[in-house]
């Protein structure tokens, strides 16, 4: 069960967009922006409030890669795997990150909730390939080594 504050926040967001089916996506986006993920309980709550069937809301939320029911880490690392990045070996970068953080295809976030590693299709920075973003900040021309260094740098911020 989520804390009541989550529902209050959801109410506030719902009021901003109006109780109609068309508000579903913007509401989900705002909730995700607030909590860095979309809590399943809130999806159920929002669906009921705006008069959308829960299965339908779930359908929309799972259709878009961007929505996540899993809580994400403090640092969200998006490794670009668009064509330009892919041919410039972006996958070894991602694999190095995953190995270093002990992540798998099923687990995208570290147990200490510090890092989330995801793949995205194109960040629009093909000239800087291979590239990745950390919380929307672009890091160009990555290599597996640079990626590991980046992690220690980010870990350093923790202290």
């Amino acid at each position: 069960m989520l804390d009541q504050s989550y529902y209050n926040k959801a109410d506030e967001i719902i009021e901003g967009y109006g109780r109609k089916a068309a508000s579903l996506i913007p509401i989900m986006q705002d909730i995700q922006a607030e909590y860095r993920y979309l809590p399943g309980e809130l999806l159920t709550y929002v669906a009921k409030q705006i008069g959308v069937k829960e299965a339908k809301a779930f359908s929309v939320a799972t259709f878009y890669e961007n929505f996540s029911f899993e809580p994400k880490g403090k640092f969200i690392i998006k490794v670009c795997d668009g064509t330009a990045c892919h041919v410039r070996k972006s996958m070894p970068v991602k694999e190095a990150l995953m190995k270093e953080l002990g992540l798998t295809h099923k687990q995208h976030t570290t147990d200490d909730m510090m890092f989330t590693v995801e793949t995205v299709s194109c960040l629009g920075a093909c000239g800087l390939a291979p590239t990745l973003t950390v919380n929307d900040e672009v890091h160009p021309k990555m290599t597996p080594e640079k990626a590991i260094d980046l992690l220690s740098e980010l870990r350093g911020e923790k202290v």
């Binding site: 159920t44 069937k53 299965a55 339908k56 809301a57 779930f58 799972t62």
Partner: protein
């Protein structure tokens, strides 16, 4: 309005909503998996693709007819496309046809594979095998047989307004499932089984209880008693070349006697009991200021809909048991009397229903009397056909037989329960002071008949204008209930059957019925009424006997529930 040329022949069209309907009207049964005239057009399966005179191809379900159109339905290119579509669907589909319950007549995918002449599937099935959902007493969901046509999703949402199923994920990961991959019994599913009616494969099928019946029949210490609902008799014949909608009640009774049923009764009899009780309850509520509108309680899917989503109206639901519940309770009580059960056998009641939700109703805590389950096993029409086939009876050769006494006779009012408006019509007959032909006709013409989703009308009774609403389809019921809740509509009585057109199109009936079959089934029940001497429930002599006998002090205990 206009003309189009289909495969070189001129075809007239009027108000058809798409090219597909015009093609079918012209006698070409173009294949489809995702198109149903009662559902919204989805355009997913692409099997109905046709070609125009410029070589352009388009899905005929999603194209409006235009005057002067020239289309071809079976060019070489199209044949190749269609075959490839079906082959690809088969590639990602469980192919255990020999053990699939929908194999044979009901699986559209299988019949299309045959039609397209597919003898080889060149691709490997790379889909992950997923577990079956066996949590519902009514339906089984096998995701491995799903072809993503979305018929179940649209039937549940558009016809029933429930939305228990939806698409999830995308692309090759796409699947049909309830929200958060919940089990079906954790959703707002009302067990109506319409998803199964619209499913073109075995992805959603009826949860079968046939083996339990065979076990009971094989046990010498058990008396097996059957009851047959009205709508069953006009649908079983579909499978045996009987003209659509023709009642084959006598043949069914014969088949059940041959199987070894000790007694075969007619649920029409307890439909009469329902009318007696429900009319009394209705008059009591009207005269003594009880909760109105009275909501009918015969349809378990509707009752679950109210208890799930309109809890504030639960006190409005009639306390009458459904006809299934009433007859089972009466049968059990009858055989509790040692005079009727000299050999002391255990009684097992098997009810034959057009309905998957009845399986759920039988499990409800309020479907027990004296600690004993009223209805032991519920068998749908589709399963009954399977049982007849299992025993190898030549249906055409079965001579008609009559039901057994003392619960084997129903009035005309009881038999029309199976079609929307039937319950209300029977109530109105009960309220009518006489049984002349003229008064029966005036009731039939009061607005109670017809296949509209929502029918509103009023009839005068003892100085008041009784306002009635007759609904079929739960999406329509939701619209009516929202209005009632908001105070925008007022009724004395609301009759709801969850399935469109009523029980004749229930979730347990043979699937694949077209418009003519639907109309014929309704007519079949009205014909059964027309050929019955006793029209009114209160004039059924067996009902009168029962009230003077067993029900004298037990009517409430056997015929009503304590709550929902």
């Amino acid at each position: 309005m206009g003309y189009m040329t289909i495969d070189g022949r001129k075809v007239e069209f009027t108000d058809e909503k798409n090219v597909l309907s015009v093609i079918r009207k012209a006698g070409i049964n173009i294949p489809t998996l995702c198109y149903h005239s009662e559902l919204s057009t989805f355009g997913a399966c692409r099997l109905c693709t046709v070609e125009d005179n410029r070589g352009k191809t388009f899905a005929s379900c999603s194209e409006e007819p235009r005057d002067g159109m020239v289309i071809y339905t079976n060019t070489g290119k199209l044949k190749k496309y269609r075959k490839m579509i079906v082959e690809l669907l088969l590639a990602a589909h469980c192919r255990d046809c020999t053990t699939c319950v929908e194999s044979g007549v009901t699986c559209v995918l299988q019949s299309l594979a045959l039609r397209m002449g597919i003898q080889e599937v060149r691709f490997e099935n790379t889909r992950e095998i997923r577990p079956l959902d066996m949590t519902s007493p009514s339906i089984v969901r096998d995701p491995n047989k799903c072809i993503l046509c979305g018929n179940c999703v649209r039937a549940c949402e558009e016809l029933q307004g429930i939305g228990a199923l939806g698409f999830a994920y995308r692309g090759t990961e796409a699947m049909v499932m309830p929200e958060f991959d919940k089990k079906i019994n954790e959703t707002l599913c009302v067990n109506c089984g319409q998803c199964r009616v619209f499913c073109p494969t075995g992805a959603i099928s009826i949860r079968t209880n046939i083996d339990e019946v065979w076990d009971a029949l094989a046990d010498p210490n058990v008396r097996v008693v059957a009851q047959i609902a009205p709508a069953v008799r006009v649908a079983v014949g579909d499978n045996y070349g009987v003209p659509k909608g023709r009642s084959v009640m006598g043949k069914i009774v014969n088949a059940l006697h041959r199987m070894g049923f000790d007694e075969v009764y007619d649920t029409t009899f307890s439909a009469d009991l329902t009318i007696m009780e429900e009319t009394a309850e209705f008059l009591d509520r009207v005269q003594n200021g009880g909760k109105l509108p009275l909501l009918t309680s015969c349809c378990p899917a509707w009752v679950k809909f109210v208890t799930d989503q309109f809890q504030d109206f639960v006190p409005n639901i009639s306390t009458c048991r459904s006809p299934q519940g009433m007859l089972s309770a009466v049968i059990k009580e009858h055989f509790r009397d040692p005079a009727n059960n000299p050999d002391g056998r255990k009684t097992v009641v098997v009810s034959f229903m057009p309905c998957t939700a009845k399986k759920m109703e039988a499990e409800r805590p309020n479907s027990y009397t004296k600690g004993e389950k009223d209805t032991d096993i519920v068998i749908t029409t589709t399963e009954l056909i399977r049982m007849i086939d299992n025993n190898g009876y030549d249906f055409g050769m079965l001579e008609p037989e009559a039901c057994d006494t003392p619960f084997g006779l129903g009035s005309g009012g009881g038999v029309i329960f199976g079609v929307t408006g039937g319950v209300t019509e029977a109530v109105l007959r009960r309220l009518s002071p006489d049984h002349t032909k003229a008064s029966m006709e005036s009731i039939a013409e009061s607005g109670v008949r017809g296949m509209d989703g929502i029918k509103e009308f009023s009839v005068p009774y003892n100085g008041i204008d009784v306002k009635i609403c007759v609904v079929n389809g739960l999406a329509n019921a939701r619209a009516v209930m929202d209005k009632v809740r908001a105070g925008e509509a007022e009724y004395h009585l609301i009759e709801v059957m969850a399935c469109r057109r009523g029980c004749i199109m229930g979730g347990g009936q043979p699937a694949g019925a077209g418009d003519r079959t639907k109309a014929a089934r309704a007519q079949g029940l009205y014909n059964a009424d027309n050929t019955t001497i006793i029209k009114k429930s209160d004039e059924n002599p067996l009902v009168i006997d029962l009230y003077n006998g067993m029900l004298k002090d037990k009517a409430h205990e056997l015929l009503h529930v304590e709550g929902y």
